[in-house]
């Protein structure tokens, strides 16, 4: 009997159905509309102000300055991360450096510290870290694991035969690295680099604390000055163009990445390079990175925590912020997974125009800055859906949009493995399509949904930008409290909130991420 069921690996060959159910179509249409809303918002505001005025607002030295800062930051941080990340990955994967495994674990710790928290610790150490140079340094120190991890994973799984052949043909070690290894690493380097570049475009909290004016901080400044005005919308337009350009690049790179991938036939690991006299230098590099990347931020946080505890901790306020953070993140994660389900369903089980949209949607959402999504939601809620204005529901909607890309990929992967023929078998046995889904497919994808829920929940806990704009009156979260106190230079007051953020969000994210990469040999 069992032999009659197709194996999961065959699932993808089952012909796709043509017409999806309304319960799949509606949420996807809703999400498509939502992701296009920011463009509509910018367009409406520009229309309101008049094209002439809109152009005038765009074409002025202030905007050029923002563009310069934003691009310099983006390029600087990405380049620094690439150099540090690749060097580190090579050192830990290909050399005989003692303690490699431990270093790998320690050097991913920046994942545990939200970048606006590490920024505040650096600024509290010295105001010299403010401005472009400081921002590049601090941001690179908090983002390099995004290059290190994928490059390390690629290096580990790389077929070493090519490199060895090159060696036997007389190529120097450096030559091999340059001509063979580096091109093979390109896809993961580009992937990580583009992710960092996109992060730099949309980062707000950290840059605001580091005192660097970029598009996001300027948009927020306009918001503080005039709420939701044409100025903010025009700056958002430039930011959107930059983000969509990054998205385009990323999609191109993704396409190319497939051609470069090589077979997994050789299981043999590379011969580790003997560092010999260079060993201390390697250790020093790792040590410096550990001290700068997580040592100093965590130590400064500990210092402010000890300073703060000499006064009484505002336990009630901290408890309230923690409770709010937990509840809105739970709501956001739940809603997000609910939305991820129809999207993944459509991509995996159907074809047609809507399925193509559904396929692209997570990438588009990923490239939209949280600040612009928030501005858009404020505007449309106030004018068209007043019942949602300043409500928790709107914030939860924003979270769902922001984190959909995160939730979608595990759900989709799992759904790919759940063959529709299983459901069909259940239907021939008399179950309704809904019952068949609930009793057959749902149990298969449930673990992936739980994983998606956890990922979104943990990330939503530290969300700052959209929360600042969309919080209902009187609401505070851990992230907004860190931000509010830091803005007033009250580092000791910010510390307990920041520490809690690391414990409830940062550390779990760190454990999940590092485990995913480091344990998968």
């Amino acid at each position: 009997m069992t032999a009659a069921l197709p194996s999961p690996a065959l699932a993808r060959f089952v012909p796709k159905r043509k017409r999806p159910s309304i319960w799949v179509v509606l949420p996807v249409l809703f999400l498509v509309a939502m992701s296009l809303l920011p463009l509509l918002y910018v367009g409406l505001k520009a229309w309101d102000a008049g094209w002439h005025e809109a152009l005038r607002l765009l074409w002025r030295p202030f905007v050029w300055g923002l563009l310069r800062n934003t691009l310099l930051l983006m390029v600087g941080v990405t380049a620094l991360c690439l150099v540090v990340g690749v060097a580190l990955a090579w050192l830990l994967e290909r050399s005989d450096l003692p303690g490699r495994r431990l270093w790998g674990v320690v050097l991913c710790l920046p994942f545990a510290v939200p970048s606006f928290v590490s920024s505040f610790t650096w600024v509290s150490l010295s105001s010299d870290f403010e401005g472009l140079g400081g921002a590049i340094l601090v941001m690179a120190l908090s983002k390099y694991p995004l290059v290190f991890l994928p490059v390390a994973a690629t290096l580990r799984n790389l077929d070493t035969a090519l490199e060895e052949s090159a060696r036997t043909l007389g190529c120097s070690r450096w030559g091999v690295f340059r001509k063979i290894t580096l091109p093979l690493l390109w896809p993961s380097m580009l992937g990580g680099g583009l992710l960092i570049a996109l992060h730099m475009l949309v980062e707000f909290g950290a840059l605001s604390i580091l005192g660097l004016q970029t598009f996001t901080t300027a948009i927020y400044q306009q918001f503080e000055l005039e709420f939701s005005n044409a100025n903010a919308a025009m700056l958002s337009a430039v930011l959107l163009v930059l983000c969509l350009a990054m998205l385009w690049l990323e999609l191109r790179v993704r396409g190319k990445a497939r051609h470069v991938r090589i077979g997994q036939g050789v299981a043999r690991r590379a011969q580790p390079l003997r560092l010999r006299g260079w060993m201390p230098l390697g250790q020093l590099f790792c040590l410096a990175l550990a001290v700068l990347g997580s040592g100093i931020p965590l130590a400064m946080l500990g210092y402010w925590l000890s300073v703060g505890s000499s006064a009484a901790f505002p336990v009630a306020a901290i408890g309230k912020a923690l409770g709010t953070s937990l509840s809105v993140s739970l709501g956001g994660a739940g809603f997000c997974v609910l939305l991820a389900l129809p999207i993944s369903f459509l991509v995996v089980r159907y074809k047609g125009r809507l399925a193509i949209w559904a396929e692209r949607l997570p990438y588009l959402l990923h490239a939209l800055p949280g600040l612009v999504i928030a501005l858009t939601l404020v505007f449309f809620a106030l004018h068209y859906v007043p019942a949602l204005y300043q409500t928790t529901a709107l914030l939860i909607l924003a979270y769902a949009l922001l984190f959909l890309p995160l939730a979608q990929s595990p759900v989709r992967t799992a759904l790919n493995k759940a063959s529709p023929t299983l459901e069909e078998a259940a239907r021939t046995l008399g179950a309704s399509s809904f019952a068949a889904f609930c009793r057959v497919t749902l149990p298969i994808i449930f673990p992936a949904m739980a994983a998606a829920f956890a990922l979104v929940f943990l990330d939503a806990m530290k969300e700052l930008t959209a929360t600042l704009l969309l919080s209902p009156t009187g609401m505070t979260t851990l992230a907004t409290e860190v931000w509010a106190h830091t803005a007033n230079v009250e580092f000791a007051a910010a510390a307990p909130y920041a520490a809690l953020l690391i414990v409830v969000s940062g550390l779990p994210v760190y454990l999940l991420t590092t485990r995913m990469y480091l344990n998968k040999a």
Partner: protein, 337 residues
């Protein structure tokens, strides 16, 4: 006595509720809750809410933001505004709201407690406390005798990297308006251009003050009460307050003010809150939290400030300042915003 559910459970319930029925997070069956849009410092709003709730049982829900943002928000919200009261750090945003007809007239009984020059046109807004612009300098970086007598002189090359200011703050914009009125557009533009070229910008006044205290810059242009707030926290400060020549724009006296929003669904309660804020009791709560001058007739601050009648501000009242639009426009023109 009402029993309020735990914040966690309440927001959780609201989150679930809103997910299920897509309705606003309704926090029903409480007595009257007033919504205050608070552009004034967070701790002052909280002090008011705490004292007022203790006295009347009325809960004040506070939305914190910058004064400009919150006033613009009320303009955009129009009749839908959930705000009952707006409390700002400056008069121009209130003036703007008043001109647009978005504010209710304040009860005469309330206005009578305050001097006329600190009340807006048609009684639509009132000054709550006064503050003065000052220069704070660090004696380790500059001698008092080397400080200029007019704020206009801070915009020169001799101040390169040594003077700090906060272009986004409403108080700075008020000062720019005062300079506009006193010296004209050209001089103001020159002043702003000079500050942009030579001065160091900070994101807010407290950051600027802590910078001068650390000796990062020699002097900063801020409001007086920041210095007293930091002094109270730290006991003793290196930096000192400096007042400019009589009648200089650098000595501008401004107000923090409040108004009742016309769209309010609780106009009576809003007026009662304003009345309390103008009363001796309310003013004591406020001026014990911030080192500003109480505006209630006959009251004086007990925070050891330079006596109000010894200040030598230019003759420009908060009502004279009008809107800050032109100042913001000028700041945009020179590229500060």
């Amino acid at each position: 006595m009402t029993i309020r559910p735990q914040p966690l459970m309440r927001s959780l319930a609201a989150a679930v509720l809103s997910l299920v029925i897509g309705a606003p997070a309704a926090l029903a069956d409480e007595p009257v809750t007033l919504t205050m849009y608070n552009g004034q410092h967070k701790e002052i709003g909280e002090a008011i809410a705490k004292a007022y709730e203790a006295k009347t049982g009325i809960h004040i829900n506070i939305r914190k933001g910058s004064s400009n943002q919150l006033a613009s928000q009320i303009i955009e919200e129009g009749e839908r505004s959930p705000a009952d009261i707006i409390y700002t750090e400056e008069s121009p945003p209130l003036n703007n709201l008043g001109e647009l007809g978005l504010l209710a007239k304040i009860d005469d009984a309330t206005l009578n407690m305050l001097p006329k020059e600190y009340v807006g046109a048609n009684g639509t807004w009132m000054g709550v406390t006064a503050r003065t612009r000052v220069v704070v300098y660090n004696p380790k970086k500059i001698d008092e005798k080397d400080l200029p007598t007019t704020v206009m002189d801070f915009a020169g090359p001799e101040w390169d990297g040594r003077v700090g200011y906060v272009p986004t703050s409403g108080a700075f914009q008020e000062q720019a308006v005062a300079i506009l009125k006193m010296h004209g557009r050209e001089a103001t533009e020159e002043w702003l251009t000079g500050l942009k070229a030579f001065g160091k910008t900070y994101t807010n006044n407290m950051v600027a003050l802590k910078a001068v205290e650390k000796g990062e810059v020699a002097a900063v242009l801020v409001n007086n009460y920041y210095w007293y707030a930091l002094e109270r926290e730290r006991g003793k400060l290196d930096s000192k307050l400096y007042y400019l020549a009589d009648g200089d724009a650098g000595n501008l006296v401004t107000i923090s003010g409040a108004a009742a929003v016309k769209a309010s669904k609780h106009p009576k309660e809003a007026q009662a809150l304003l009345n309390w804020m103008a009363s001796e009791e309310g003013q004591r709560v406020i001026t014990q939290t911030t080192a500003e001058y109480p505006l209630h007739k006959g009251m004086v601050s007990d925070r050891g400030l330079k006596p109000f009648d010894e200040l030598r501000p230019p003759k420009i009242s908060p009502a004279d300042l009008g809107n800050a639009e032109e100042a913001i426009e000028l700041e945009r023109e020179v590229g500060l915003l």
